[in-house]
Symmetry: C2
Subunit: 349 residues, 2 copies
């Protein structure tokens, strides 16, 4: 099993800092989640029913004709590779690594595609997996360009899989409205934008035949009844959604500026995270973790992903820690030279 971010409990052990003392920026989840209301007892007691209004709420929110609820988009990421015979698959890199892992596990031939130009090798591929916007690079392609890529693949019976886990704040970048086209599969999730990662609710948007095959493979009742109830309410809350889009976009600018001010100008980002490519990523991750700030470290390329702080005190805490980067003088935590993109000096331990 691949290891994942969000493992605050493990970090708490490793750094001997209690769970509740951490500022967790590792999961890139909206730090001010949709507020879960009281849940009817029946949602816990009864087997989840398909006719409870969740699908309807999702169709309206996504503007998609057909949706299949999932226990997070992770469920589709794992199951989709089993629905097509072994073939040539291109997966953007860097990118959420469960995609390539799942396609390889299912016996496909997988090659990496650049996140900014996933369409270059399309004629030699049967399936292309893109992340829109990309996690962690933040690359985002014009929908028209993705639709062109899809058309080239679909003409030969291929698929375009678009993981839109981070698209909610910029819905004009989504392909959800085109998901009735054969061979186009869009994955959505309530984990990031709604801040409901613990609910385990996502959706596959695609043609009914494909969704039925996916449903058959996943089996019944994969989404908890209480989670279905929560998700349906959140998807219908247009007022919260609009306010949250505005706030996240503003906070993303603020985070990028804060990082740049401290010598860590992001190479890219979305409304929910900023991505800093630097050869000193491992040291920086360690430096922040010792201060109870958990970020997401990537080794290829050497980089860190910063989720958004929430409360004012959290912004302050991140700023204080970044300021220490330059003033810290103990040998174990030497100062990092201020520089431009990828320009931070790696210092010997």
């Amino acid at each position: 099993m691949l290891e994942h971010g969000g493992r605050i409990v493990a970090a708490a052990r490793q750094y001997a800092i209690p769970v509740e003392a951490w500022l967790d920026l590792s999961a890139a989840i909206n730090p001010r989640p949709w507020r879960v209301p009281r849940i009817p007892a029946a949602a816990w007691a009864r087997l989840p029913e398909e006719a409870d209004g969740l699908e309807e709420a999702a169709r309206a929110y996504y503007g998609a004709p057909q949706v299949l609820p999932l226990a997070g988009s992770q469920a589709a990421i794992q199951a989709l590779p089993g629905l097509i015979p072994p073939c040539r698959v291109g997966v953007v890199a860097p990118g959420y690594y469960e995609h390539a892992h799942a396609w390889r596990q299912a016996g496909h031939q997988v090659q990496a595609l650049p996140a900014a130009t996933p369409d270059q090798a399309a004629d030699d591929l049967d399936v292309v997996v893109v992340i829109q916007p990309n996690n962690p690079s933040g690359d985002s392609l014009a929908p028209r360009r993705l639709l062109d890529l899809h058309a080239r693949l679909a003409a030969r019976g291929g698929w375009l899989v678009v993981d839109e886990a981070f698209v909610d704040a910029t819905p004009e970048r989504s392909l959800a409205g085109y998901s009735d086209r054969p061979g186009l599969i869009v994955l959505r999730s309530l984990g990031k934008f709604f801040g409901l990662a613990g609910a385990r609710v996502g959706f596959a948007l695609a043609q009914p035949e494909l969704l039925e095959r996916l449903r058959e493979r996943l089996g019944p009742w994969t989404v908890a009844g209480a989670s279905r109830y929560v998700a349906a309410q959140a998807l219908r809350d247009n007022v919260w959604q609009a306010a949250t889009r505005a706030r996240l976009l503003k906070d993303a600018v603020r985070l990028a500026a804060l990082l740049a001010r401290h010598g860590l100008p992001p190479s890219g980002g979305t409304a929910l995270f900023q991505w800093v490519v630097t050869p000193a990523a491992a040291e920086l991750h360690e430096f922040l973790a010792r201060r109870g700030i958990l970020t997401r470290y990537f080794d290829t390329p050497s980089s860190l992903r910063f989720g958004l702080p929430g409360a004012p005190s959290q912004w302050q805490r991140l700023e204080t820690a970044l300021r220490l980067l330059h003033s810290e003088s103990q040998p174990a935590h030497p100062p990092l030279t201020k520089g431009g993109r990828g320009d931070l000096t790696v210092l010997a331990k």
Copy 2:
């Protein structure tokens, strides 16, 4: 996809009776579920963590050295057949039909075994699946006998899978305590006894190597964070568990007596349901459904499963409907002749 009981929304449409007006006895779930407390916001917002205490609570409750949380035992029912090369599998019948379905789907050769004597054909089989106690027949085997069956299978590298979804009220019948034996796989669920079917939490109990393979196949975060929180609390609530065991066993006797009094003596049952075998099962199901009482109909053998009523008014409602069975005189709903086991006269429509 197989169709399931518990589809109250569909029944509401079919019989034009609003959802909230039904007495649902179809799912055999404890009608007085464990009461879900306030859930911390973090359980919804954060990715589920494995170190949150759920596994520990489950090990203590089941008396099992190793547990793997699942999105209901359904998840393991679907995944287990993929962990062993195609082989000869015996599955008890009648029994929860997802078992045979899943093994067939995965390419195994499946044969039906009598629920009361699943051990007869063991020497010709590689895997045996039993349900303890059986759903819907209520058959329950002495643990020693199941351990003998297991030993015969395991000696040849085979498996015994024991689905214990209905065992919680009679824990002395469980094989959980032996689940460290190679080739013994016990499935448990919080759906029935705890009345938390909507939480989608179950467990596989088995050797660590097998659980790791199952975990790898199912992938990360299959159980919602909120569900993990609820499950951990419920598994630790020993006082509620003891009181509930006593109550369910008493209510089961009461339900069996009520059915017998109205000419429907059960052929078997557990603490959570009674099973009535009768050639008139389809008519009886229809008769009760028209009165807003949903039972679980089986065609092979022709039978009905009755879950427990909860509130006094629900007991009264079932009794009233059963009384009508004998007094009803419209041609469309003719009286059913009173009789013994399987003795009800089937009446022409």
